[in-house]
Symmetry: D2
Subunit: 257 residues, 4 copies
């Protein structure tokens, strides 16, 4: 590849070998790395430690499946409309991995970064952050959940895993510090939710904040494929469409010829 | 542009002028052509006649809006999830302009082509086509509608416009011939539906069959923008989501902080 | 449709009639409205005046086609990869109608709104806006063009059309006022570019700022369909791919079996 | 959830627990399953054996990254155009996981199914399949590669892994049988390529043919996130665009204000 061409450092190949991030795909990666390890290696060029892999696996397992979310509904409706085009149905759902849901993970990661690196120390900055949100009547990204009260069980589990693997560093500490400040500012207990805990864990394993959405996108892709497979054996899309249009359940009608 | 580069004949420009299909964009197109005329010119390199424009307008007006279709529902859900990204919400809906709905327009166009060009004459081939579908228990693309009976009023209107503009040529004739054969083969009246009439009109104005889906995609893009605008002033996405998840209407709940 | 269902006011139908924005689709719209008029009607519920239609047509004709843009390249590559799925190729290209290019239209519309409604009058606010951007070393949305100097010919044409149709109101006036302030602040002439002029015209015809991107999306959909049609007769995607990978032109090789 | 609503069996939850495929997400899945195991569980409702996991990991590691493919180029161009919208850039690239490239994996899986289940035995059917393709001058899906000759090293590795894990069953046998028949029919050696070997391995672990594209989509999503991360630190999109438009390398130009 010439020096003047737009090039990538991620991968190159010749007739006999394929390299990804400098490693021989066939000799060093296939059969040696799990998908999760390979994803980390693709992103960072470093092989993850066992603990880093465990946390990335845990976050991706957490984010994969949430039932009939807007993304899953969109995927099912689009698959019904264009079943020859599975990738389009997945893409339609992934387009919903945006600010409303995943933005809270990115927003929480930004808050943790602010708190971790505050010259005045974490507790003071955490109190300032909590107070700033309370006064602006804005939700604190990564906190609160409409159903999982008093605590989101996923967050408890994710944070325990970080500790278990010796990876509860400054991101996790910042999150706990913020949690105390939030409870104090609001005068009641607000759970750390799954996006908040995920933000802390992904920070601990060194993934940069602007790419966190990409972890969610990849994990959710797997979940949406699961919905497509279920849609094939147990179709819901026509039912969903009918319910939305009319408010009443769908009853099969004889088709036009 | 060098002769070795991948190039397009559609457009080129210099500091003072921009050309599309050989015409000066500023001098000859902006302010001179409607969007529909420009679309035809973009596709074919020819300026449409008044009749051709009228039929393309009529088909695109017909296809723009159909209420809460799977595409519109997907667009609204994705817009709710990522409102910063209007183009993603439109793209999600457009991904549903696939075989289930628009495939019937393409399928009907293929049947009309088969009948128009049959050496044994249109009526014989139309009878064979109808019989072939009846025996295979397959729907005849472009015929039948679950609600609009006995006739789809859009088809009646579209075909009348073709006649009015002197453009009811062999595609329209093939459609009418097929309609008679279908009614005879099934022993009852099946309406020509809107996709069937659209296929005939787009054939009459010289658009090639493989691109018909693109006419639907463009028209539907406009309709989906309309749904996004309504979603902004009168949100339905959370309601849709709740209804699909639970089967009961959504009641606003106090948000988590 | 029950009062409890998520509903749309855009469209409803019964067995004999289809209504869009309260008008009978078959009796009042098909054959009566152009696509552009129908798009305006879909968005606003109002039939446009002749001048409003002319300006919307002019903007959409301007935005349709720009040669091998990132969007057009993406569409061609994706069409090559999945030719069975035209809508996916269009969707891929439309996903690029984002902040980098179309954001300038929206950004300019926001500036025009700020200037139009400033209590201290347009000239003072325009000077403040220009100065603010100069000091922050930020581009002024809607101004400047790398190739079209001293003036973008499209903008000249679009603004002339607004005047011709008696629609050069406060949005156009704000743009001209800002242009004078920009030239003064930077000490040289910067052209109003096509996105700036488009922002002013769409403001004049009453389209809300958050939906302007949707006008670009719809127009660009038509242009991308044109690129797909050209890709079918004169394929460029493999050539593009090879050129990007290697920096040298693609030579057909005998395919693997 | 009422019996009349469109429902999913994949997931449900209450205030304290979330279930996926009948397992408690927090107690049984997070921290217990890798992403790959969870993906298999999401798709099938069964926990994979160690060997099944190894093969799915191996295939997904193989499919993740291939350098500047059409998908990766599209993702980079769209990310450049809409950087606020990472999921849109990934979606644009995924739309290219279609018939041209991944269709060969699905096509090979269909051939293997035909051969595995042929009443006349695998060798006879394999010969018939090879002959059928040769006479029709059609490529045999899963065979041949333009660069990797005489053998694609990835396929060798993937098939060795299947044997190593005791999972070289009838799908792998059908592939080897077809390979012999292909070499005999064409009178020269054609490599089993990576899509061919992947089809056999995914068949061995029990994933249904219509969902194989979804495995590729998920794996490629991870690779495209890697390209976005590289695009952020080492931008190539403007360079690609310039190269495609002009055939010459891009040189930074002073930006318009």
């Amino acid at each position: 590849m010439s020096g003047n061409t737009p090039t990538t450092s991620i991968s190159h190949s010749d007739a006999h070998r394929i390299f990804v991030r400098g490693a021989d795909l066939v000799e060093e990666l296939i059969g040696h790395l799990t998908f999760t390890e390979m994803f980390y290696f693709e992103l960072t060029g470093r092989r993850p430690t066992r603990g880093q892999t465990a946390l990335l696996d845990a976050v991706m397992v957490t984010l994969m499946e949430h039932g009939l979310t807007p993304s899953a509904i969109a995927t099912r409706l689009i698959y019904h409309s264009a079943p020859e085009n599975l990738q389009g149905a997945v893409a339609a759902g992934l387009l919903g991995v945006g600010s409303t849901f995943i933005g809270t993970m990115e927003g929480c990661a930004a808050l943790l970064e602010e708190i971790r690196t505050a010259p005045e120390g974490m507790p003071a900055r955490a109190r300032a952050v909590a107070e700033r949100h309370r006064q602006a009547r804005q939700p604190v990204h990564g906190f609160g959940h409409p159903f999982h009260k008093p605590d989101d069980p996923r967050s408890v589990r994710l944070l325990a895993l970080a500790a278990e693997h010796g990876l509860a560093g400054s991101h996790v500490q910042a999150l706990h510090t913020l949690a105390q400040a939030v409870d104090a500012a609001y005068g009641r207990h607000l759970t750390i939710n799954a996006t908040g805990a995920s933000a802390a864990l992904l920070g601990e394993i060194g993934l940069p904040q602007p790419i966190l959405r990409g972890v969610a996108v990849t994990s959710r892709a797997a979940g949406l494929v699961g919905h497509i497979l279920e849609e094939r054996s147990k179709p819901a899309a026509r039912h969903i469409w009918h319910l939305v249009e009319t408010g009443i359940p769908y009853e099969d009608e004889p088709d036009a010829p």
